[in-house]
C-alpha cells in the first residue's frame, strides 16, 4: 500500500500545483496590451506575450486550471461508469443451465461496452459534442464518455482474473451472495488496476479534451485553456512559436507523468 501511495504521489502533487497555479500568475490572463504584442520571452514576460499582448505565463497558469477541471471531470465519468460497466460485464453466475438475471445484466453491459469500443475515441467525442453543443461541460462529458469503453475493458479483464482466486471460492462456500462477492470481495482487490486505469484514462482525457478545445469546441474564445492556446500558437507560429510551445509542453509533461505513474502503480500490484 505504501509503495502504491509513493507511486501516485508525484502526479497528485503536480495536479494540486496546476490547480493552485493561478495564484502565482504575474498578470491578468485576459488583459490585452497592444503595445506589447508578440514579445519574446523576457524578464518581464517569462514566456513572452501573444498577438494581443497577453502574458503567456499567466494564461498558461490560468488555462491549466480550466483544462484540468475539464479533464478531471471527464476522468471521473470514465472511471465511475467504466468501473460499473466493467464489473457488471465480468459477472458470471454459478448456476449452470438456469439463466440467471445477473447473466442478462452482464450480457447487456458487455454489449454496451463493445458498442462504445467500436467507435474511435475522438470521433465518438465529436459526435457527442454535436449532440451536446460546444462549451466546457459538454467537452468534459464527451471526452469522459469516449474513455468509458477502454476503462471498462481493463476492469472486466482484471475482475475475471480475480473471480478465479481462492478468496472468491472461500466467500462463496461461506454462503456469500454473488452481488456481495462482486462488490465487497472482488472490487477492493482490483484497487491497483482501477488506480492505474484511472491514471491512463486521465492521460487520454487530457489529450482528447485538448484536441477538442484546439478544434474550437471548448471554452469561449479568448478564455485561457491549453488546447485553445495550442490553436493560437498554430496560427502565429511564424512570428511567435512560444505561444504554443508553453501549453504543448505542459500537456506533454502531464501525459508523460500519468503514463509513468500508471506503469509504476501496475508494477507495485504485481510484486
Amino acid at each position: 500500500m505504501k509503495s502504491r501511495l509513493g507511486a501516485i504521489s508525484p502526479l497528485v502533487v503536480v495536479l494540486l500545483a496546476v490547480l493552485l497555479a493561478p495564484i502565482a500568475a504575474p498578470y491578468d490572463p485576459m488583459a490585452t496590451d497592444t503595445s506589447a504584442q508578440f514579445q519574446a520571452p523576457s524578464a518581464a514576460h517569462w514566456l513572452g506575450t501573444d498577438q494581443f499582448g497577453r502574458d503567456v505565463l499567466s494564461r498558461l497558469l490560468h488555462g491549466g486550471q480550466r483544462t484540468l477541471f475539464v479533464t478531471l471531470a471527464a476522468t471521473g465519468i470514465a472511471a465511475a461508469v467504466g468501473t460499473l460497466l466493467g464489473m457488471m460485464s465480468a459477472y458470471r453466475s454459478n448456476e449452470t443451465g438456469v439463466s440467471h438475471p445477473g447473466d442478462w445484466i452482464a450480457f447487456g453491459a458487455g454489449v454496451i461496452v463493445s458498442a462504445l469500443f467500436a467507435v474511435p475515441a475522438l470521433v465518438l467525442a465529436l459526435a457527442l459534442v454535436t449532440l451536446l453543443g460546444t462549451g466546457l461541460p459538454s467537452l468534459a462529458i464527451a471526452t469522459g464518455v469516449s474513455q468509458i469503453a477502454p476503462f471498462a475493458r481493463l476492469v472486466a479483464a482484471a475482475a475475471r482474473q480475480a473471480a478465479a482466486m481462492p478468496y472468491v471460492e472461500a466467500a462463496r462456500s461461506l454462503g456469500a451472495r454473488e452481488a456481495r462477492i462482486t462488490w465487497q470481495h472482488v472490487l477492493p482487490n482490483l484497487l491497483p488496476t482501477l488506480l492505474s486505469a484511472t491514471v491512463i484514462a486521465f492521460a487520454y482525457c487530457l489529450l482528447n479534451s485538448a484536441a477538442l478545445s484546439f478544434l474550437g469546441l471548448g471554452a469561449p474564445p479568448g478564455q485561457p485553456d491549453w488546447g485553445a492556446m495550442l490553436y493560437e500558437g498554430r496560427q502565429v507560429f511564424r512570428v511567435a512559436i512560444w505561444v504554443g510551445l508553453a501549453s504543448g509542453s505542459a500537456i506533454t509533461i502531464l501525459v508523460w507523468l500519468a503514463i509513468w505513474t500508471a506503469d509504476r502503480v501496475d508494477f507495485s500490484s504485481q510484486q
Partner: protein, 320 residues
C-alpha cells in the same frame, strides 16, 4: 480453422451493428438540430420546417427511422446531409482519398519508426538472453527511449506546430499546409505517423524481451545460428502478429488524429468534413461519417486478426 474464421467474421458483423446502433441512438437523443435552427433563423414558418423534416423522413417514429436507416446502410446508402440534402457518400467520396493517402503514409512512418525504436529499445533484453552480442550505444538507446516517450505523450497539435515551425518557417524545406503535391503530404504524415510510433515501439520492445527468453530462440542460438537469422527469422518473425495487431489498433487513432491533422495542415479529408459537420450540427452527415469510420476500424481489426492467423502458426494450431 473454419470455426475461428466464422467466429471473427461474426464478431466483426456484431461490432459493426453495435457501432451503427450506438451512433444512431446517440445522435437522436436530443432534439434541436442544424436544419431546424437554420430554417428558423431564415424566418421559415413551422409548416416549412415540418415539410423539410418529412422529406428527410425525420417525422417518422424512431424505430421506423432506425429500420429504414439499417436497410439503407445494407444497400450502401449512408443517407443525406441535413443541411444541403447531398448524399453523404457523395460528400465523402470527394474527400476520402486525401484521408486514405494521409493514413497510409502515416502508417508507414509510424511502423518504420516504431519498429525501429522498439528494436533498439529491446536490444538490452536480447543481449541478456544472448540473442544479440552487439551492445547498443547508451546514447542511441537513450534517444530511442526519449523519442518513444514523447511520441506516446505529445499531442498531435503540439508536434504539428513544432514541425511546421522548424521545417516550414525556419528551414523553409516544406510547405506548411495544403494538399495535392507530395511535398504537402510529408509533414502531416510525419506528425501523425510519429504519434502512432509510440505504441508500436512499446509493443515491439516488450515483444522482443518476452520472445528472446523463449526456448525455441535459445535452442536456435545453441544450434549456432547466426545472430541475424535468430533475430529476424525467430524473434522478429514471432513478434510480427503482435505488431500487426498493434497497427490495427492504430487505425482508430489514425482516423481520430486525421481530424486534428487535417484541420491544422488545412488539408481536405474526411476528418475536416466531420469537423465541419459537427460545427454546423449536421447530425445526419456526422452519423454517416462516424458509421463509416467505425466500419473502417472494424474492417482493419478483422484484417489484422486474419493476418495474425496467417503469420502465427500457434493460433491456427489452437483452433484445429
Amino acid at each position: 480453422m473454419t470455426a475461428r474464421v466464422l467466429a471473427f467474421l461474426l464478431r466483426a458483423v456484431a461490432s459493426a451493428w453495435l457501432a451503427v446502433t450506438v451512433t444512431f441512438v446517440l445522435l437522436r437523443l436530443l432534439p434541436g438540430d442544424g436544419l431546424t435552427a437554420q430554417l428558423r433563423e431564415s424566418g421559415a414558418p413551422d409548416s416549412v420546417i415540418a415539410e423539410r423534416q418529412a422529406a428527410l423522413g425525420l417525422d417518422a417514429p424512431l424505430p421506423v427511422q432506425y429500420g429504414r436507416y439499417i436497410a439503407a446502410l445494407l444497400r450502401g446508402d449512408l443517407g443525406v446531409s441535413l443541411l444541403n440534402g447531398q448524399p453523404v457518400s457523395e460528400l465523402m467520396g470527394a474527400q476520402v482519398w486525401a484521408t486514405v493517402e494521409l493514413a497510409i503514409a502515416s502508417l508507414m512512418v509510424g511502423t518504420v519508426l516504431g519498429v525501429g525504436i522498439g528494436y533498439v529499445g529491446g536490444q538490452s533484453a536480447l543481449q541478456r538472453y544472448k540473442v544479440s552480442s552487439r551492445a547498443v550505444p547508451d546514447g542511441l538507446r537513450n534517444i530511442a527511449g526519449i523519442v518513444a516517450t514523447v511520441a506516446l505523450s505529445a499531442p498531435v497539435m503540439w508536434t504539428g506546430t513544432l514541425a511546421v515551425w522548424l521545417f516550414a518557417a525556419r528551414l523553409d524545406w516544406l510547405p506548411a499546409g495544403g494538399a495535392g503535391r507530395l511535398s504537402q503530404l510529408i509533414l502531416p504524415a510525419l506528425v501523425l505517423g510519429f504519434a502512432t510510433a509510440g505504441g508500436v515501439a512499446q509493443v515491439t520492445q516488450r515483444a522482443l524481451g518476452a520472445i528472446g527468453r523463449e526456448a525455441f530462440v535459445q535452442t536456435a542460438i545453441a544450434k549456432g545460428l547466426s545472430e541475424w537469422v535468430v533475430g529476424f527469422r525467430h524473434v522478429l518473425r514471432v513478434a510480427l502478429p503482435l505488431i500487426i495487431t498493434q497497427m490495427s489498433i492504430q487505425a482508430g487513432f489514425l482516423l481520430s488524429g486525421a481530424v486534428v491533422t487535417e484541420s491544422m495542415f488545412s488539408r481536405p479529408g474526411i476528418g475536416r468534413l466531420l469537423l465541419d459537420a459537427v460545427l454546423r450540427q449536421d447530425y445526419l452527415l456526422v452519423q454517416g461519417i462516424v458509421v463509416w469510420m467505425s466500419l473502417v476500424v472494424i474492417a482493419a481489426t478483422a484484417l489484422a486478426d486474419g493476418l495474425a492467423l496467417l503469420t502465427d502458426a500457434r493460433l491456427r494450431q489452437s483452433m484445429l
